[in-house]
Amino acid sequence: MGCEMETDQTEDMDVVLSSMWPEDINEAGRQFNVERPGADQDMLEEVTINKEPNIVDFKRLMELTNYSDKGNWQLANLIKNWEYKQENAVRLLREELDNLSKQQQEVELKKLEILEEHRFEQDGYGGDKRPISILDENLKYLYQDAPRRRNDVVFEDEKVEIEAEFDSVVYWKQRAVHLEKLLEASIKREQVLIEKLQESIENLERQSSPVEELSQVLKRADNFLHFVLQNAPVVIGHQDKELRYRFIFNHFPSLGEQDIIGKTDVEIFSGAGVKESQDFKREVLERGLPAKREITFETELFGSKTFLIYVEPVFSKAGETIGVNYMGMEVTDQVRKREKMAKLREEMAVQKAKETELNKTIHITEESMRAKQMLATMSHEIRSPLSGVVESGVMKLEATKFRPREVVKHVLQTAAASLQKLLTLEGNVADDVPVEVIGDVLRIRQILTNLVSNAIKFTHEGKVGINLYVVQEPSTIAKQGSQKLDRDTTKELPMSESQDDQNGRDENSTCENHKLSNGAQVEEEKETNRKTEEQVVWIRCDVYDTGIGIPENAIPTLFKKYMQVGADTARKYGGTGLGLAICKQLVELMGGHLTVSSVEHHGSTFTFVLPYKVSSISDSSDDPDELSDSDHQDVLGDGNDDDLHSGVFVFQPRTLGTLFSSQSSTRIQKLTPNSYAFNKCNGLLLEDSLSPSSNITYKETRSDEDANSAAGPMETSYELEISDNLSSAEKHEKSVPNTDLVGRFHPYVHPSNSLRAKHNVDENLETCVTYQGQAQAQARTDGISSECSSSNSPEIPKGDLKPKILLVDDNKINVMVTKSMMKQLGHNIDVVHNGAEAVRAVQSNNYHLVLMDVCMPVMDGLEATRLIRSYEETGSWDDAIKAGVDIQLPSPDSQSNSQLEKTRKRIPIIAMTANALSESADECYANGMDSFVSKPITFQNMKQCLQQYLP
C-alpha cells in the first residue's frame, strides 16, 4: 500500500472537501491514506477524537463491503496485503522446513556410511578417520541457521568421552552406543523443532487474522476522518436505495441513532428544503451521476440554514445503484453574504440606472424647456408690435398721458408676480419726476419690462431695481428753466433733500400729520410749478441689478441683433438676443439713448434717457372745467399726489407684490367703501384695517347705506349723509391717508364732498337722457354712474354700491361656472359673449372689472382690450368703430361728454387664459390686460383676483 503521507506532515495537512478536489486525481488519492499500523503508533495519541457523531449501521456496512465495488475493492486491498504477509511467513517456514529435512537426509546418509564403515571394520578393517570432526562439521552445517540457544543443547552429548581403548571391540561398541545416542538426540531435536514450527504457525494464524487487521485499519481511517472533520460544519452520510440513512456523521445533536438510521430525510425532519433535498438525492440516484446543489432549509429543528450538498451514487458490482453517499456543508453565512453582495450590486445597478434615467430626463426637460422658452421668447418678440414696427422702420409714436410711477410700479409688480427667484425688486421714482407726462407709454413700458426681465434673468441673488429721475437735456443745458437746473444738480440722489424736493417730501409724509389744507397748498404750489414749465422734461431711467454682469469686451456687440454675450450665455439663459437691439432702436426712435455700464460679477445698469412732454396743460385745464369742484379737487388732489409721489416700491422676495407700501395703503382705501357695500366677504378685512374711531363712522355709514340701497334712487339724501360722515372726520384722513393711486375707484372717495355730489346729481338729471337703453334692473343707476363718469372724472356713488363686473366669454359652461362662483363671492355679473359685445358693454356701462376670455369668435379678448384701452387713453371710440364694433355714441347734446371722457378711469381687465402658447401672459400684458387667471377658473383664483382688483 503506497504511503504518501509522511508522519510529520499529518498535522498541517489541509482539510479539503473531497468534492472540491480536482477530478483527475488518481485513485489512490481517494483512499484512506493511512500509515501501516505499527509504524506510527503514537501519531494520534495526543489527539482526542470525539467519536460520538458517528452512527453506523454495521450490517449495511457489511453489505456495502460485500456488494459495492468500492467496499469490495477496499477489502481486496486489505486482503491482498494480508495475503502477501502470510505468504512471506509461509515461505520462510517452508525454507526452514526444507533445511531441516535436508539435514535429516544427510544425517541418515551419514548413519549409513557409518554403518558400512562399521561393517568393514567388523570385517577386520578399520580406517583412521576422524568422524567427530566430520560430525562437528556436519553438525555445524546442519545448525548454521538454528538459534544459538539450541546449539548449547545439541552439543551436550558431544563431550562424551570414550574410555575404552581405540579399535578394540569395546571401543566400537561404546562408539556405536554413543552414535545411537546422538541420533536419538537429533531426532528429539527434530521433533522439538517440528513442534515449535507448529506452534509458530498456530501463533501466526492467531495473531494476524484479517478481520482484526481490517478493523484496525478502518479504525485508524476513522480516527483520521474524525480528526480532520471534527470541527468542520460538514455532515456526511450514506443512504440506501430507498434513501434511508445507513450512516451519518455529524448529525444534529438532538437526534439519536434510532431517529436517523433507517429513516429518510422527510421522516426525520420537516420544513422548507427537506423535500427538495430528498428529491435531489433521488435524482442523483436515478441518473447515476454525482451532483452538487445548494439547498436552503427552513426547519423547526435547526432554523434557517443553507447547505451545499454533494451527492454521489453508489453502485453494486452489477452496476446497479444501491444508494447514495452525500456530504453537506453549511454555507449559510456565505450565502447570506453573497446575497447581500448581490443585493448591493443590484441596488447599485438600479441606482446607476436611475441616475442615468434621471440625467436623461433632466437633459430632456432642460432641452424642452429651453425649446419652449425660445419659442415663447421668439413668439413674443416676433409677434409683439414692437419688433414688427422696428423691423419695418415704420414708427408711429403715440403720445399719451401717463404716470411714470404707475408704469414703474406696474412693471415691477408684473415682474414680481412671475418671479421665480429670491430677488428683491425695487423701484425708486425721484420726487422731481412729474406725476404725469406725455409719451408713448406702451413702448416705454415694453422697454422697461424688457430691461427688467433681462436683469432678473441674469441675476441670481440680490436685487433688481428701477431708478427714475429727471436729468438735464443731454445736449443743451441752457434750454432748461432754472427750476430744472436746480434739479439737475441733485439728479443722482432721487430722494435728496434739495429745496425743490422739499415739497415732494412733504407730500410723501402727509400720511399722519398733514391735513387737507396743507395738501391743498402743496398742490397749488405744484400747479404753479407746472405752469411755469410747459416744456420737455428729460427723465433718466436706470435699470440696475446685482447679477453676473457683462464682460467689457462684450459690451460693444450687446445691442446688435441676435447677439448675446456668448454662446454659453445663450445656452444658459436663453433668449434670442433680439430684446436689447429692439430696446435700443426704440429708445433712439423716441429721441433718447440707451447705454449700459457693468462690472462683471457685480451687476449691470442699463440706462435710457428719454424726453417727455409734461402734461401740465391738461392738469391746469381740468381745474377750470370743474368750477364747482375746487374744494373737491383739493381733497382728491391731495390724495392722489400723495400716492403718486410715494415713488418707492419694494417687492420683497417672500411677499411677492403683497408687501407694497403704497399699494397696501391704497388697498385699504379701496376696501373701505367696498366693505360697506358687501361686507359679507370683506368685513373682516375692514375691521383689521381701520382704527376703532373710524370704525364707528363706517358702521353708521353702513346702516345709512343699507337704508339707501333699499330706498333705491334717493341719491341726494344718501350722498349727503355719507359726505357728512366723511368730511367731518379727520380720522378718515388719518387712517386712510392715501387715495387710490390709479384712481379707478374714485366713486367711493368722492362723496366726501357734498358740493360736488350735488353738482353731480344735477348733471345726472341732465345727462340721463343720453343714456342708451339697458333692460337690466340696474340699468338706471348704472346709466347714471356711467354718464357721470363721462361728464366728470370723479363719479358719484351709485345706489347699488356693488362693483359691476363684466364677464366676456363665449363658452356657456364657463359662463355658468364663473357666474356661480361670482354669486358665491357676492357679485352679480353681466355676461357678453365676444370681444365686440364687450366693447359695447364697456361703452355703455361703468364696470369696475372685466373678466375677458382670450379666444373668442367675432373678436378676441386681446383686440377688445386694446380697443377699450385705446378709448381710455384717447377718450374716443374711433378705433373700436374702425374695428367694426357697432358703437352707439351718446347723443352729442352734452359737450362735456366727449371732452371729459378723456379722463375716464382705467378698468382692470383680467384675462382668462387656458395656458396655451397662443394665450401667453406676455401677450395679455402687451395688449393692456392687467393680470390673468388660468382656466379652468377655480374659486380660489377668482377670489384672489377680486381681492386684488376690486376695492
Binding site: 356661480s820 358665491q824 379652468p936 377658473i937
Partner: protein, 168 residues
C-alpha cells in the same frame, strides 16, 4: 352636495322622534345609497374620469342651487352635441381646415376642463397636438377617442347623479 348629506341627516334625526322603526329602514336604505353614491363618485376620480375641477363645481352647489353640478353637466352635454356636429362637418369638408378644427376643439376642451372631465380633456389636447402637426389620421382617431370618452363619462355621470339624487 355635502351640505345636502348633512341636511338629510338632520331630517333623519327629526323622524326619529316620530317613529324609530320606520327610521331604521329609512336610514339604512339612505345610508346605503349615500355610500353607493360616494363610492361611485370616488371611482370616477380614481379611474381618472374626473379631476379636482369637478370638486370646484360641487363646492358651488348649495341650498339655492341644489342641482348645480348636474345642471352644469347637462349643459355641457347639450352644448357638446352642437360641438360634435360642428366637428364632424369640419372633418368632412375639404380642404381640411386644421385651424378651425383646433379652434373648435379649443372651445370644447375649455368646456371639458370646466367640468373637470379629465379624460375627455386629455383626448382634446391630443387632438390639438395632431391639429398642430396636420396629422389627419391622428385627428380622426383622436376624435373618435374624444367621442368615446365623452359618451363613457356621460353614462357614468348619469348613473351617479341618479343614485346621488335618491340618496339625498
Amino acid at each position: 352636495m355635502y351640505a345636502h348629506a348633512k341636511d338629510g341627516g338632520g331630517v333623519g334625526g327629526m323622524r326619529k322622534k316620530e317613529g324609530p322603526v320606520n327610521l331604521k329602514i329609512y336610514t339604512m336604505t339612505r345610508n346605503q345609497l349615500q355610500c353607493q353614491a360616494a363610492y361611485m363618485r370616488n371611482s370616477l376620480f380614481d379611474q381618472g374620469y374626473l379631476d379636482e375641477q369637478f370638486v370646484q363645481l360641487e363646492e358651488l352647489q348649495d341650498e339655492a342651487n341644489p342641482d348645480f353640478v348636474e345642471d352644469v353637466v347637462k349643459l355641457f352635454y347639450t352644448d357638446s352635441a352642437r360641438f360634435i356636429r360642428n366637428m364632424e362637418l369640419t372633418l368632412d369638408s375639404r380642404p381640411l381646415d386644421f385651424e378651425k378644427l383646433d379652434d373648435i376643439m379649443h372651445q370644447f376642451k375649455g368646456s371639458s376642463s370646466s367640468i373637470g372631465a379629465k379624460k375627455v380633456k386629455r383626448e382634446c389636447t391630443q387632438f390639438q397636438e395632431y391639429c398642430k402637426v396636420g396629422n389627419f389620421d391622428g385627428c380622426m382617431r383622436t376624435f373618435q377617442e374624444v367621442k368615446q370618452e365623452h359618451a363613457g363619462l356621460k353614462k357614468k355621470l348619469e348613473s351617479y347623479f341618479e343614485v346621488a339624487r335618491q340618496a339625498r
